[in-house]
């Protein structure tokens, strides 16, 4: 967790995380391709972008003690490829927060833009928090 992590209780529908920038370095892409047994083609694999953004986003809020965050579902739409070395900016907001019995679900919407402010991808991540 980051030092300035937002508390889970503060995440209400409409909450917007501060925009976050990421540099998609050659070393990051190389590690990613090694992990997924992938072949490179000079562009950043779209799923590598999503993975980094989700991981960073998940680390930007603190969970209730003893809770494990589980990735329950994912929606994605890819608009354009970005070259290795590009910097992207991610905008994330809380779309929904649902509690069903002992299960809490957090639904986050994300939009990712390149340096020219063109949309690279958008998505919706559902994180389940069994308590």
């Amino acid at each position: 967790m980051q030092g300035n992590a937002v508390n889970y209780e503060e995440l209400i529908p409409g909450y917007e995380f501060p925009p976050a920038s990421y540099e998609l370095s050659a070393s990051l892409v190389s590690k990613y391709l090694q992990a997924v047994d992938g072949a490179g083609d000079g562009f950043v694999p779209p799923l590598a972008i999503t993975a980094c953004v989700i991981a960073a986003m998940s680390g930007s809020f603190s969970l209730p003690p003893g809770t494990i965050a589980i990735h329950a579902s994912q929606e994605l739409e890819f608009f354009k490829l970005v070259p290795i070395g590009a910097t992207i900016e991610c905008h994330t907001r809380v779309a929904q927060k649902i509690t069903r019995g002992k299960m809490s679900m957090l639904i986050l919407e994300l939009e990712i833009f390149d340096q020219g402010n063109e949309k690279v991808q958008s998505g919706k991540t559902t994180i389940a928090l069994p308590t």
């Binding site: 990051l28 590690k31 990613y32 090694q34 992990a35 997924v36 047994d37 992938g38 562009f43 694999p45 779209p46 799923l47 590598a48 999503t50 993975a51 980094c52 989700i54 991981a55 960073a56 998940s58 680390g59 494990i68 965050a69 589980i70 990735h71 329950a72 579902s73 994912q74 929606e75 994605l76 739409e77 890819f78 608009f79 354009k80 490829l81 069994p130």
Partner: protein
């Protein structure tokens, strides 16, 4: 790449073996160090009873299958919806299957609507979902 895009066409499956080493590599690459994925003693005490692979690792395999079938059309015009039903674990062999359910034409653009699923060696569904790929204008 597929030479023929038609309803009912199955996509070339992808088969991957999950290891803790790959999970650890994926954690490093993505920055997702959730202990449920990488800390075996922590994970053993959870309801999962051991470490599990990142859901996004399985989606990377789905993307590999889609890239092989549709190339650039998937990478910059694809749409995916996936549900993580069960967890993939170290030692599992994942088989990712997919097929084209239908090809639709909207405003002079063709879309391939596909379904996919990832199953482990026991046949348990780990991830399932749908994909829509925007094809070149008028292509069918």
């Amino acid at each position: 790449m597929l030479t023929e895009i038609q309803e009912g066409k199955t996509l070339n499956p992808v088969v991957k073996h999950i290891t803790q080493e790959k999970i650890n590599l994926y954690a490093e690459a993505s920055g997702d160090f959730n202990p449920i994925h990488i800390d075996e003693s922590f994970a053993a005490k959870t309801p999962f009873g051991g470490t599990i692979a990142h859901g996004m690792l399985n989606l990377a395999y789905v993307s590999e299958m889609m890239t092989s079938a549709f190339g650039q059309n998937w990478l910059s015009g694809g749409k995916l919806r996936a549900k993580f039903k069960e967890s993939a674990r170290p030692g599992d062999t994942m088989t990712i299957n997919g097929k084209i359910d239908c090809v639709e034409q909207k405003d002079d653009v063709s879309y391939a609507n596909c379904s996919f699923e990832c199953r482990n060696q026991k046949g348990e569904a780990i991830v399932a979902g749908e994909v829509i790929v925007k094809l070149s204008s008028g292509k069918r």
